[in-house]
């Protein structure tokens, strides 16, 4: 991914031409949307808890530097070692250092989007360390040698048949059975041996509580508990925005996250970790490390409008409701975070030179904004990033990367035309008389007509028609 800039348009065209993929996504997203809607049938409850959760996230952002210091202080008091990483390279170096000190050969991982952002698995493998994803969806994706296509359901792009074939190819003694229960049990057998043998367990963090120095993780499978309980060392990775002020701030977030994500009232496990094994305790890791990653987040935080991106609790509901995501699938984005949140987060982290296309892959239908449990104004930020992409010297990395002289001249002309009644009359008259004769292959116009029919200009302008109707003052 660090090679050529991803070509979102080409990847989308390929995805659109794949009926199997589109069918897999359509079915999954329809199911997720209706299950979520059932959870929020009581609109009064939804409105109230949503406002509370948004206030929890905003309060955390309003005190972000202080809360991170308090988190560090309380984690340290609890025996958790806190590390700070400005870049993904720093975070990978910290992880490798801990692994080397622990003489680790085998790592088991629970789900962590931050480590996807870091491409940690590739770094570990290059270092000769075996790393195994243990969330079933992540395990499938890892066996397949691809990336997650959804932040909550990583293997949503595959159907049972495809997964059965994959397991048959990759797992010793696997039978060729297209049966989710059989396949799940097969993964259980493979991974239980790994949990038992692993030297280090890794996880993400859903919320870190400053007040108590507690790391909260939610999950259904028990792999997160395995990774954070059984191996002698646990390393947790979090983006610096994941902190909340008080322990009481956790219930509102936990109330909305699983309901928004998968339409379940709560995940099977809510796991709250406040330190390594204490004197006298019989299990739990001997060491717990927390790696706090910036990777562009402090830059996002600097802009009062873009800052709202950092409210996100990573439920993935915006993906499930996005008409673009549902049609092109997660892989077309070629990014750790796809869908609406990805379209505003990834360009800010990786820059508009590489990711300038992403904010344009949006119809601005506002569905994501309506269901976002923490009320992120995704569409407004999307619009802002479109502007930043053509405005050099702005707040976002590689701002102005997509600026074009022709485009900027056309818009200046457009502005001038609309500011002068005479120019406007002349221009609209010219368009109504000559517009239909203009070939659709004209530069700039071509961008539009490539994928759309060229509009037909009306023979008479709106002003002309209004005047004929006797509307005064036009």
């Amino acid at each position: 991914m660090d090679g050529n800039a991803p070509d979102f348009a080409a990847a989308s065209r390929a995805a659109l031409a794949d009926p199997q993929l589109r069918g897999n996504f359509r079915r999954a997203m329809d199911g997720l949307m209706s299950k979520r809607a059932a959870q929020f049938a009581d609109t009064g409850e939804w409105t109230g808890v949503r406002a509370l959760a948004a206030s929890v996230r905003l309060r955390a952002l309003s005190k972000l530097p202080e809360l991170l210091e308090t988190l560090e202080k309380n984690c340290t008091r609890n025996g958790i070692t806190v590390h700070w990483a400005a870049t993904t390279a720093d975070a990978n170096a910290i992880a490798l250092d801990i692994l080397h000190k622990a003489n680790a050969k085998l790592v088991v991982k629970g789900k962590s989007m931050v480590t996807e952002e870091m491409h940690l698995n590739a770094v570990l493998e290059k270092d000769g360390i075996e790393v195994l994803e243990s969330d079933l969806g992540e395990y499938i994706v890892q066996l397949d040698g691809t990336m997650p296509s959804h932040i909550i359901m990583p293997a949503i792009h595959l159907n049972t048949k495809q997964i059965a074939h994959l397991f048959k190819r990759k797992i010793k003694d696997a039978e060729s059975r297209e049966d989710a229960a059989y396949l799940t049990d097969l993964a259980r057998r493979v991974l239980r041996a790994k949990f038992q043998a692993a030297d280090v367990g890794m996880s993400g963090v859903n919320a870190a509580v400053a007040e108590t120095g507690t790391l909260c993780l939610i999950e259904n499978e028990g792999n997160g508990r395995m990774c954070t309980t059984v191996p002698p060392v646990h390393i947790a990775f979090m983006g610096l925005e994941k902190v909340v002020e008080k322990l009481e701030d956790v219930p509102p977030v936990i109330s909305l996250l699983p309901r928004s994500a998968t339409g379940q009232p709560i995940t099977t496990y809510v796991n709250m970790i406040s330190g390594p094994r204490k004197e006298g305790e019989k299990d739990g890791p001997r060491e717990v490390h927390l790696v706090i990653l910036d990777n562009g987040r402090s830059n996002i935080y600097a802009d009062p409008e873009l800052r709202d991106t950092l409210r996100c609790i990573r439920c993935g509901a915006c993906m499930n409701h996005c008409p673009v995501y549902t049609k092109v699938g997660g892989h077309a984005y070629e990014a750790p975070y796809p869908g609406p949140i990805g379209k505003i987060l990834v360009p800010q982290i990786e820059g508009l030179e590489k990711r300038g296309a992403m904010p344009h892959a949006c119809t601005m239908c506002n569905a994501c904004v309506e269901i976002c449990p923490v009320k992120i104004p995704i569409v407004e930020i999307m619009g802002r990033l479109r502007v930043e992409a053509v405005k050099p010297g702005g707040a976002v990395k590689d701002g102005g990367a997509k600026a074009s002289r022709t485009e900027s001249m056309v818009w200046s002309g457009w502005a001038a035309m609309n500011a002068s009644p005479t120019a406007y009359r002349v221009a609209t008259l010219a368009m109504s008389k000559l517009g239909n004769a203009a070939p659709s292959s004209l530069p700039m116009l071509k961008e539009w007509t490539n994928v759309r029919t060229k509009p037909r200009f009306a023979g008479r302008t709106l002003h002309d028609l209004a005047r004929a109707k006797g509307v005064p003052d036009v």
């Binding site: 509370l52 309060r59 309003s62 079933l136 792999n223 309980t229 509102p252 099977t268 330190g275 935080y301």
Partner: protein, 220 residues
Amino acid sequence: MSDARNSILSRLRASRDAHPLTPPASDFAPIEAKSWAEEERLPRIRRLMEAVHTEFLDAREADWPAVLREFLAHEGVASLAYAPETEAGKRLVEGWDPASTSLIPYDRPLENLKPQLFETIEAGLTTTRGAIAETGSLILWPTAEEPRTLSLVPHIHIALLRADALYDTFLQAMRMQGWAQEMPTNVLLVSGPSKTADIEQTLAYGVHGPKRLVVLVVHP
């Protein structure tokens, strides 16, 4: 990496001071308003948890070890790990007939019990600190006496739930029990046996954690 720490924190502080943010007040009333009559709590917990394949047994203070023994014998469970130093552990062993199920005390560090726990022990017994009506969740509070893996590694997790320790919400339980003052190494909410829907949205139980969760309700 303290350079990274200081530069991150000073950047954040400068940005925040340049553009301070006034958050709206956090009104917890929408969560505080959720409540169920005392006699509705247990049926609700049961309904929500049974919907995700949790099993329930009813017993009295006097006979819960016998109810458990009978259940394990009926299910053909040959071994049960338990916490010997807890009150519940002491009750359990009193007069236990090991004919059908042998009791294995979790009395040493995980390192010395790992192969047994992963490969042979079939069930684990833990206590709970109550349950939550809103979501149908057990509160597990592992301690030095009652380790975390007891409810995680064996294929069957049996959880003792006192019928008088029921809360409306997660928030209420954490406030009434004063969690913020005394967070232990690990606290858990458990709302069913391990499950996944990662293969084409098909729900499958018992992926990594326990395949079965049995709640043994002890009525006063």
